[in-house]
């Protein structure tokens, strides 16, 4: 572990840092992809003694009931059940969007009831599926937008870490991908302006803030500008959902990561005619769904991420 202290923030350093996350076997990186392990293993290894943990849950799609997963409520409940069983409770949960399938009140109600069982504070950002009410997202804002600006963006601090919630599913342009928009970018610039470069930053949004696969719209048009504001910080962790699979990339001091869904998997970009629900082989669905635990230890940035599946 000492090799990390005073170490650089290059890719090699980042990967080395990852190894301390748990017992060494938890988060192995091969070809840029993390291996998955059972949540029970992950939970047993999480040691927040010198910092804190929080949990990322994503793409619950409550209301989805198609062949790829006949009951997305059930798998969401299972994911929350795993959180409840954690020996060390995370400080809070972030949900990176697509809470619901069709933005229906009943879907939001059910999603809220399910996650409430975890007994933890939940920070939301919307996915495009949460913007489908007749007034383009007003239902989401009424429910989750308290204290937020614009389309629902906000920031908060927790034990010295600055968290920024960005919205990139509003006012999407024909032919484009995700979009932050000028107002939000302006707000972000101001939000970050007064902060010391040593402040660890966690940014979360639904659609990836880097281009994972442009042909399927898996990226954010104007993310470059946002990332420009983040460049000067020593530790930036970007957490996204939307694509229902783990991808990751390190660029300078910025570590990008996408989480699994709790509802259904999607194909790897470009390996199928289109994105969309992927029917897992019989009995394999739960090994393709999961949550992400993030562990922050002061002085040991970057934040360590552990992806765990629902199969255990």
């Amino acid at each position: 572990m000492s090799e990390h202290d005073g170490g650089g923030q290059d890719r090699r350093g980042f990967l080395k840092c990852m190894a301390w996350a748990g017992t060494g076997a938890l988060w192995t990186v091969s070809g840029g992809l993390a291996s998955s392990i059972s949540l029970d293993q992950a939970l047993a290894a999480t040691n927040p003694a010198k910092g804190f943990t929080f949990l990322q849950i994503s793409d619950s799609h409550v209301g989805f009931a198609k062949p790829a997963n006949p009951d997305a409520r059930a798998t969401y409940r299972e994911a929350v059940g795993k959180i409840i069983a954690m020996p060390v409770k995370p400080d809070f949960i972030i949900h990176t969007g697509d809470i619901s399938q069709l933005s229906r009140d009943q879907e939001f109600d059910d999603a809220d009831q399910i996650i409430k069982q975890a007994g933890l504070e939940v920070f939301h950002v919307p996915g495009e599926h949460d913007m489908l009410d007749d007034e383009n997202g007003k239902a989401y804002l009424a429910r989750y937008g308290k204290g937020s600006r614009g389309a629902g963006w906000y920031s908060f601090d927790h034990h010295g870490v600055h968290f920024v919630a960005l919205i990139n599913v509003v006012n999407l342009k024909a032919g484009g991908m995700g979009n932050l928009g000028a107002d939000q970018l302006k707000w972000l610039q101001k939000d970050l302006a007064g902060r010391s470069s040593s402040t660890p930053i966690v940014v979360f949004a639904h659609i990836p803030l880097w281009t994972v696969y442009a042909d399927w719209g898996w990226g954010t048009e104007d993310a470059t500008q946002a990332l420009g504001y983040l460049k000067r910080f020593g530790s930036v962790t970007v957490l996204n959902g939307h694509i229902h699979q783990i991808t990751q990339k390190v660029e300078g001091n910025i570590a990008f990561h996408t989480a699994r869904s709790t509802a259904f998997p999607q194909p790897v970009g470009g390996t199928a005619p289109s994105p969309g629900p992927l029917k897992a082989p019989d009995g394999q669905l739960r090994s393709m769904l999961g949550v992400t635990t993030a562990t922050f230890v002061r002085g040991r940035e970057p934040i360590a991420l552990i992806d765990a599946t629902l199969a255990s």
């Binding site: 198609k66 062949p67 790829a68 399938q101 069709l102 933005s103 495009e128 599926h129 913007m131 489908l132 007749d134 999407l172 342009k173 024909a174 032919g175 484009g176 991908m177 442009a214 042909d215 399927w216 719209g217 005619p273 289109s274 994105p275 969309g276 629900p277």
Partner: protein, 123 residues
């Protein structure tokens, strides 16, 4: 959204497309206009996050219908907002009657890389 709502939606959207066009329709058509459009046009299928065919050419007064065959909801939104569907879940449809000539580009507001075009020729 239930399928039986769509005729109402057609009327509402046709009205929204422009007061002049709406008045013309109201004069010429009986109240049954929405259920039995003067000229039923092509159906554009949404399969695998793609509008097919991507471009259709129709005459003025034609009703174009979109149907979502995907397991994921989609929308149909004109780039200039001349028409806009509600969300269409699997097997749901949306129709719009084009009362003015022109080129209408449209996209899915959930998945904006999905784009298509309706070319409307004067009668």
């Amino acid at each position: 959204m239930s399928k039986h709502r769509f005729p109402t939606l057609v009327v509402a959207l046709a009205l929204g497309a422009g007061a002049l066009a709406a008045v013309a329709v109201a004069v010429v058509q009986t109240p049954a206009f929405a259920a039995t459009p003067a000229s039923a046009g092509p159906t554009i299928k949404i399969d695998n996050f793609t509008f097919g065919p991507a471009t259709v050419t129709v005459g003025v007064g034609t009703t174009v219908t979109w149907v979502n065959n995907d397991d994921i909801p989609h929308t149909v939104v004109a780039t200039d907002r001349a028409f806009k569907s509600r969300v269409m879940d699997t097997d749901e449809k949306f129709s719009f009657t084009f009362t003015r000539p022109g080129e209408y580009t449209y996209f899915c507001s959930l998945h904006p890389h999905m784009v298509g075009k309706v070319v409307v020729k004067a009668a």
